[in-house]
């Protein structure tokens, strides 16, 4: 490849910390979140386990990408990837991604005082954070800005993960040059402004927030000039972490299906011996391995000005393609059982759809890549 394009592509590499986190997270998730726990959590309104949250916090995972000064490990978002991937493998349900991304917004756009106030408590897991970035053309609106920079907020924000459990919502208000970010303390919200949304992924929780002239004090508003870059950073980080979740899920659903194909008989033969099932599963696996290569290249290149963006977009796009195909075939290859709610293939297919929808789907990312490179 000639240099013009190859200089924009992700490069492979792994840090010692990534390798360590990968090992620890793999074991932790496997042990703490067996399939029956993932299933049981679907029925629980809260959608996550506070005890498990505390243990995740104790492992220091909520501060991986936060500075040591704020109680973090001083690493980057690339180091969060192995954890997110292993959580994806077990369909683990927590506000981990939401809280991690909320902290990134604070880190990028918070004043020193705001960072000092919130980041240590997010890093320690004492507080749960989430974020509401809105969609183009459907933003929260600001009214009546006062001298301290406070204002009244009106509008509806959607798909705020774990908002009911969160202490802080990092809220985007307005758009373009007028976009601002604010720390919304959920304790200050009036009753009834949050509504749980029905998601394609039963293992997750997200909420709609409707505000009518809610007063945000100036102290809650982050540095205005930093809002745009902070959102861009969080969106890229979000794409990377949801890609990790999908790569993890793809691994698991292939493994789950291979298990079935090794043991289920039909017409007197193990069904895995039929090429009509074996070969597509191999293709799914190849898609997964490609996605994983893109994922770790993106994790390695995330902070690289030249390469980070294309690498992340490729990772998100390939992860979606691979996970969707693997889970779709998994349903089909489980036959009648695949069509029941009891088969995990369905959980994965639904999660794949959900994850695809967050922080840009494959088509969106491919379009951007085409615009950037060709």
């Amino acid at each position: 490849m000639t240099t013009d394009i190859s200089a924009a592509l992700g490069q492979m590499g792994v840090s010692e910390e990534q390798a360590d986190l990968l090992h620890v997270a793999a074991q932790f998730c496997r042990e703490e979140w067996p399939p029956e726990r993932a299933r049981a959590m679907i029925e629980e309104e809260r959608g996550y386990d506070p005890d498990l949250w505390r243990r995740i916090a104790d492992l220091g995972w909520l501060g991986i990408a936060l500075p040591e000064a704020h109680g973090g490990a001083g690493l980057g978002i690339g180091e969060v990837v192995p954890v997110a991937e292993q959580m994806g493998r077990t369909l683990m349900a927590t506000p981990f991604l939401a809280s991690t991304l909320a902290a990134q917004l604070l880190l990028m756009a918070g004043s020193a005082a705001q960072q000092a106030r919130w980041l240590p408590r997010l890093a320690s897991g004492e507080l749960v954070g989430t974020l509401a970035l809105g969609e183009p053309g459907d933003e929260m609106r600001a009214l009546g800005e006062n001298e301290e920079g406070g204002f009244l907020v009106s509008g509806t924000a959607r798909l705020i993960e774990h908002a009911a459990a969160a202490d802080l919502i990092l809220l985007s208000v307005g758009s373009g040059a007028n976009r601002r970010l604010a720390v919304l303390e959920t304790a200050t919200l009036p009753a009834g402004v949050l509504r749980r949304e029905t998601l394609i992924d039963d293992t997750r929780r997200a909420f709609e927030l409707t505000l009518r002239g809610f007063e945000l004090p100036g102290a809650a508003v982050l540095r205005k000039e930093a809002a745009g870059p902070a959102v861009a950073h969080a969106e890229l980080a979000g794409a990377l972490l949801y890609a990790a979740d999908m790569v993890g899920g793809a691994f698991r659903v292939i493994d789950y299906t291979a298990d079935y194909l090794r043991t289920r008989k039909q017409f007197g033969k193990l069904i895995g011996s039929y090429q009509a099932l074996k070969h597509p599963l191999v293709d799914a696996f190849i898609g997964y391995e490609r996605a994983r290569s893109h994922l770790y290249a993106a994790a390695h290149s995330f902070g690289d000005q030249e390469r980070g963006e294309v690498a992340v977009r490729m990772a998100k796009a390939q992860a979606e393609t691979a996970y969707a195909y693997a889970a779709d075939r998994a349903i089909q290859f489980h036959g009648g059982f695949g069509f029941t709610y009891d088969c995990d293939a369905g959980l994965h297919r639904r999660r794949a759809l959900y994850d695809a929808s967050r922080f840009g789907d494959a088509r969106t990312h491919r379009k951007r890549i085409a615009d950037m490179l060709f």
Binding site: P136, G137, G335, G338, F339, S357, T364
Partner: protein, 411 residues
């Protein structure tokens, strides 16, 4: 419309198909029910709630009583004694005016044609009219938990005991099993038969005898529509047997042919509503991606052209298969391909629709923020019932490869 009208109609002389078509058109224009305020099933396999069941049962009865179902079945058994052409005209009118599906699919397309074809006079008098009027709901007992597609391996036992057969075992994927009054049942009457097929017999079994219980299965979609059906020393009369002991496999294959429309005898109407590409076009016009309509993206537009071509090919092929000079090379090809093509295309198309939604693909049925009330996600997940049920797509490809292209059997 009332029974009186129906009675009047069946007394009248054979109407011209054209007049009958006009009548049907007018009737459906008037009588297709308004949106009931809850989601109606698109296929007979999706009847998951009582209110859906009751609504569709009433609709089928109404269509029957108006004379637009079973038009080609003999008058003596509740039909109107007209021709297939009449019934087709009625079905066309039903489709044109977007009538809901007919509920009693197994009765109308499997059990009914079979009984008409080889049933005894008693069976015809007992069963046919209630099938049309949806008074008797029928279900089908072929698949078993351990032998999904491998019907020849059915293990449910039917042991002769005096004037009865005693049933023991289990069936799965019983559509409307929790509502059904009767089941067409494939069961093993001879454990010592020389080959597995010869030990099978076919029954018209009541579902209401002691020892038969059902358990609703939760589907991939989170909804219901099927049951597992358990038989524990359930006794049915020996007169429930149809076609003679040991002929079960042959009869089961025959019912599949009715179902595929490869033989006549179906009562008419439709039991599922295919996805409509124009609705996807509308979705692509209205769905916002990155602040612009999805349809403004040439890549998505090109994929839409591809689906339009495939959908239209299917509809052209269903006409071509009746034009002898154009199917001489492989007369069975198009009929055998239909199920595979349609079910796979349905799945792909629904999945494609989801890619139009952008962030809204996160939502599901019941969510006010969802596009079209979550219809597309549900449609995609439901699509697997057709790519898996009735012989998986993988098995369909074996059948086509072996029976049309003459390739050696996969062992």
């Amino acid at each position: 419309m009332t029974n009186t009208t129906s009675a009047t109609k069946t007394e009248s002389e054979t109407p011209e198909p054209r007049d009958y078509a006009a009548e049907a058109d007018a009737w459906f224009a008037e009588n297709v029910p308004a949106d009931p305020g809850f989601m109606l099933p698109l296929t007979f396999m999706e009847v998951g709630e009582d209110r859906q069941f009751e609504f569709l049962r009433a609709w089928q009865r109404k269509v029957y009583e108006a004379g637009y179902l079973g038009a080609a079945w003999p008058k003596d058994y509740g039909g109107r004694g007209l021709t297939e052409a009449h019934q087709k005209a009625a079905t066309r009118a039903m489709r044109k005016h977007r009538g809901p599906i007919l509920l009693n699919a197994i009765g109308l397309n499997w059990a009914g044609p079979l009984i008409l074809d080889i049933g005894s006079e008693e069976q015809k008098r007992a069963y046919l009219k209630p099938i049309l009027s949806a008074e008797h709901i029928w279900c089908q007992g072929f698949s078993e938990p351990e032998h999904g597609s491998d019907l020849g391996n059915a293990q449910l036992k039917a042991a002769r005991d005096g004037d009865d057969y005693v049933l023991n075992g289990s069936k799965i994927w019983t559509t409307q099993g929790n509502y059904a009054d009767y089941m067409i049942l494939l069961a093993r009457t001879d454990l010592a038969a020389e080959n597995k097929y010869a030990g099978l017999s076919f029954f018209l079994s009541p579902m209401t005898v002691p020892g038969i219980t059902t358990r609703k299965l939760k589907k991939l979609t989170g909804e219901y529509g099927f049951t597992q059906t358990f038989f524990e020393d359930a006794r049915i009369g020996a007169d429930c047997l149809i076609g003679g002991e040991g002929n079960g496999w042959k009869i089961a294959m025959r019912t599949l042919e009715y179902e595929r429309g490869a033989r006549g005898g179906q009562a008419g109407g439709y039991v599922s509503i295919p996805p409509d590409l124009m609705e996807i076009v509308d979705l692509a016009r209205s769905a916002s991606r990155d602040g612009a309509p999805a349809l403004s993206d040439p890549v998505l537009k090109d994929r839409m052209v591809g689906y339009l071509m495939d959908m239209h090919a299917l509809s052209l092929s269903s006409e071509r298969k009746r034009i002898a000079p154009l199917v001489e090379d492989h007369p069975m090809a198009l009929p055998l391909m239909g199920k595979l093509e349609f079910s796979e295309l349905y799945r792909e198309l629904s999945e494609f629709a989801l890619t139009l939604l952008g962030p809204k693909a996160a939502y599901y049925v019941g969510e006010p923020n969802a596009a079209d009330d979550g219809w597309w996600a549900r449609s995609y997940l439901n699509a697997f019932s057709a790519t898996i049920g009735g012989g998986t797509s993988q098995i369909q490809r074996n059948i086509i490869g072996e029976h049309v292209l003459g390739l050696p059997k996969t062992r």
